[in-house]
Amino acid sequence: MRRRIRGLAGASILLGTLLGLSGPQGAAAQGAKPFVFTGIPDQDESRLVERFGKVATYLEGKLGVPVRYIPVKNYPAAVTAFTNGQVQLAWFGGFTGVQARKAVPGSQAIAQGAEDAAFKTYLIANAATGLAKGADFPKDADLPKSADLPKGIAGKTFTFGSRASTSGRLMPEYFIRQAYPGKTPEQVFERVGFSGDHSRTIQLVQSGAFAVGAVDYSVWDLDTKAGKVDPKAVSVIWESPTFPDYQWTVRGDVDAAYGAGFTERLKAALVGITDPAILEPFGRTKFIPVTNAAYAPLIEVGQSTGLLD
């Protein structure tokens, strides 16, 4: 019995010692430091694995360092991985990018999809609600002064995407607050949910679990193309005014870690992606250069909805 206890104590000491080794220092010691990136899990995971796997292979060829992708389970986990330095690059949504750059001074937005400069939210509704696409959609290129949401959504059940999603939470919440001054979404709708990602939002509205939902238009298009949307059960009832969204954001310390000019080479590599096999799973035609300033409107929106200090 004593041996057993001694074994137990010995084992825990062993663990204590090895725990230190198994940490990051161990990994850092081996050869070239891998360049690690992640992306917010905004849709079906199989599509994420496909798109980011291709990006990793592509970047490894262009940059000459080992490139690894870490999958995360939710939006804040992607921001956390960026702030604690586990990843140097991330494919963020508009709002998560703002959060990450605020938390990591010196980090920069370097490239966005061509579509991201003028991104849109779709409001979708289950067929049983009888809600249909309105005739007059606001087409203002800037952030709207007043959002003309379809009448009839008030009092229904409503699902956002992830809490930190731009097209699935921040912007729709902003439009809802504009359309119903002085009210929070919880006061406008019978029930408010957070589905976690856009594919799930579509499924929940399609199944009728929620009557109305806010969804990223590019994921709607991708899922429609993939045959996952039943047009008899769910349809788009409103298209939002445009706003800036997804972007690649890189930490400010990568030049120090991977050599001078690394950020520029990375930017050139991303902007230079022409292979449709890489772009298609993103739902983007190409990537274009961008700067932090492009996302200033989202900071304002974040502050006005209380999601950002």
Binding site: R2, E45, I70, P76
Partner: protein, 510 residues
């Protein structure tokens, strides 16, 4: 309790209070089913268990689940053992341990992730920290309850270490071993659940499979998990322990990417979790305190109080549902009620229910039924009724009956249940705190308990708010634990076994 002028409550009174509270909570609970066709999804889910897709299982996730559990529980039990020695004497140690175990391992993981990233260190420490707190308490209880006869027989002048090693340890070693083995089973469940927030354990793949409706893969993963739990007595033994520990260390996943732990820790403790208005401010000036209160007040009114209320509502309903479920289920495994053919199936059912992590049950139930309290109540009561029912079944088998004892329902209602009732209450009061901790955590899945607000604070990158909410959750858990112990003492059931590892033998002693 002695200070209170209340009459000492009896079993019936306490049962009525809890039943009344549970019913009142049920009126407040949101039981709305939003899914239109949960039945079809449920059938597909069960179909996955019947036709598991074994080839889709990621083998390394099984390895990591075992490795994290071995190291996390090993470290937690080791630290718990050391803390158990000063536990009875030091109030500070007791408070520290109460706090360590009052914070759920998922909350620990969310906090640790800020510093250590998605790494083995996060996974192991998230298990080790709360388990150190709980092991310290239980080990201390075991040591306290042990027979002191051997100690008294020692010659004068025996050193403290020798006295402990030769006179005390042999008395308690078996109980410690049984408890640690039980903790390991819990550790496996906890480790699996950590995968749901991104660590590379089986939960990672289970979450993906459930989310995308790949029920064949989910079924295979679950069956593999049940097999691991079911066979643990074969591979977790004193002799295999060093081998397991070494194997676990070697099997740990290499951390992808590096995190600057020192800088992260400094930022996390010195900035992130410091309330925003007092970051860098002096605590000596009254303005800082005014700013702190102005910051805390809305959190208290709009998050902590409603969150705590919903957490209690869920916990009270789930506790009563657990009680009723356990009363219905335990005859399935008891010799006098289930026939020789039905009993193995009853036992298999209850062991399966108890092996299924409640967080995963809640996740699945929420997917099937939509985000209301109903799936959370179902998950908590199914899992806990499985545990309590299984234990009551063993106690029922240990009862001796008169040869002319009645049979069937008469035996159940007039003899077995009355004789087991004190034990039944002891188990439920013990599970109360555990159910409360889980109720708070289920907020992450969308029920409006305290975890819901923690999840929101983390999504908004307000770790200071998250830290305050987690602290409030811990205090609520500690309050319930204290109340539960006072009630058990007042009912004079404080000495009855309440831990799985302390359950009676399945067959009555001759």
């Amino acid at each position: 309790m002695r200070g209170l002028a209340l009459p000492r409550p009896g079993y019936a009174a306490v049962s009525r209070w809890f039943l009344g509270l549970g019913l009142a909570a049920l009126l407040l609970a949101d039981l709305h089913v939003t899914s239109l066709d949960p039945y079809a999804d449920l059938m597909r889910l069960l179909g996955g268990l019947v036709r598991p897709d074994v080839l889709a299982v990621e083998g390394t996730s099984i390895l990591y689940t075992v490795a994290f559990a071995v190291l996390g529980v090993g470290l937690g039990a080791g630290a718990g053992f050391l803390l158990a020695i000063p536990f009875a004497r030091s109030r500070t140690v007791r408070i520290a341990c109460a706090f360590l175990r009052a914070v759920h391992e998922l909350f620990w993981a969310l906090l640790l992730m800020q510093v250590f990233g998605l790494s083995a260190t996060t996974g192991i420490l998230a298990i080790a920290l709360p388990y150190a707190g709980i092991c310290a308490k239980v080990y201390a209880e075991i040591i306290e309850e042990a027979d002191l006869a051997a100690l008294r027989a020692l010659p004068p002048g025996t050193g403290a270490v020798s006295a402990f090693a030769y006179a005390r340890l042999p008395e308690v070693a078996e109980a410690l071993r049984a408890y640690t083995l039980y903790r390991f089973e819990c550790g496996m469940r906890s480790t699996l659940v950590l995968g749901f927030i991104g660590l590379p354990t089986m939960g990672f793949y289970l979450e993906s499979a459930f989310r995308q409706g790949r029920y064949g893969e989910a079924g295979a993963l679950l069956l593999a998990f049940y097999a691991l739990i079911g066979t643990r007595r074969l591979w977790v033994r004193a002799r295999t322990l060093p081998l397991l520990a070494l194997g676990a260390v070697l099997a740990l996943p290499a951390t992808v990417g590096t995190t600057a732990i020192g800088a992260n820790l400094a930022r996390f403790l010195g900035h992130d979790i410091v309330p925003a208005p007092v970051r860098g401010a002096s605590l000596l000036v009254p303005e800082s305190w005014a700013a702190l209160w102005a910051w805390l007040r809305p959190i208290l009114w709009t998050q902590i109080l409603p969150g705590a209320a919903q957490t209690l509502v869920l916990a009270q309903v789930a506790l009563v549902a657990t009680a009723l479920g356990a009363l219905v289920l335990f005859p399935l495994t008891a010799r006098h009620f289930a026939g020789p053919l039905a009993r193995p199936f009853g036992r298999l059912l209850l062991v399966t229910l108890r092996s299924t992590p409640e967080y995963m049950l809640a996740y699945v139930a929420l997917q099937l039924l939509g985000p209301s309290m109903l799936p959370a109540i179902l998950a908590l009561s199914i899992h806990n009724a499985g545990i309590v029912g299984y234990l009551l079944g063993r106690h029922a088998d240990a009862l001796r009956y008169r040869p002319d004892a009645p049979r069937g329902l008469d035996l159940y209602a007039y003899e077995t249940v009355p004789r087991l009732y004190g034990q039944f209450l002891a188990y439920l009061l013990y599970r109360w705190e555990i159910i409360l901790r889980e109720s708070a955590i289920f907020g992450i899945l969308g029920v409006a308990t305290l975890g819901f607000y923690v999840d929101a604070a983390i999504a908004e990158l307000r770790l200071d708010v998250a830290a305050v909410l987690i602290l409030a959750t811990a205090l609520l858990a500690i309050a319930v634990d204290t109340l539960s112990r006072a009630l058990r003492r007042s009912l004079r059931i404080a000495d009855l076994p309440v831990r799985l590892s302390a359950a009676p033998p399945a067959t009555p002693a001759a």
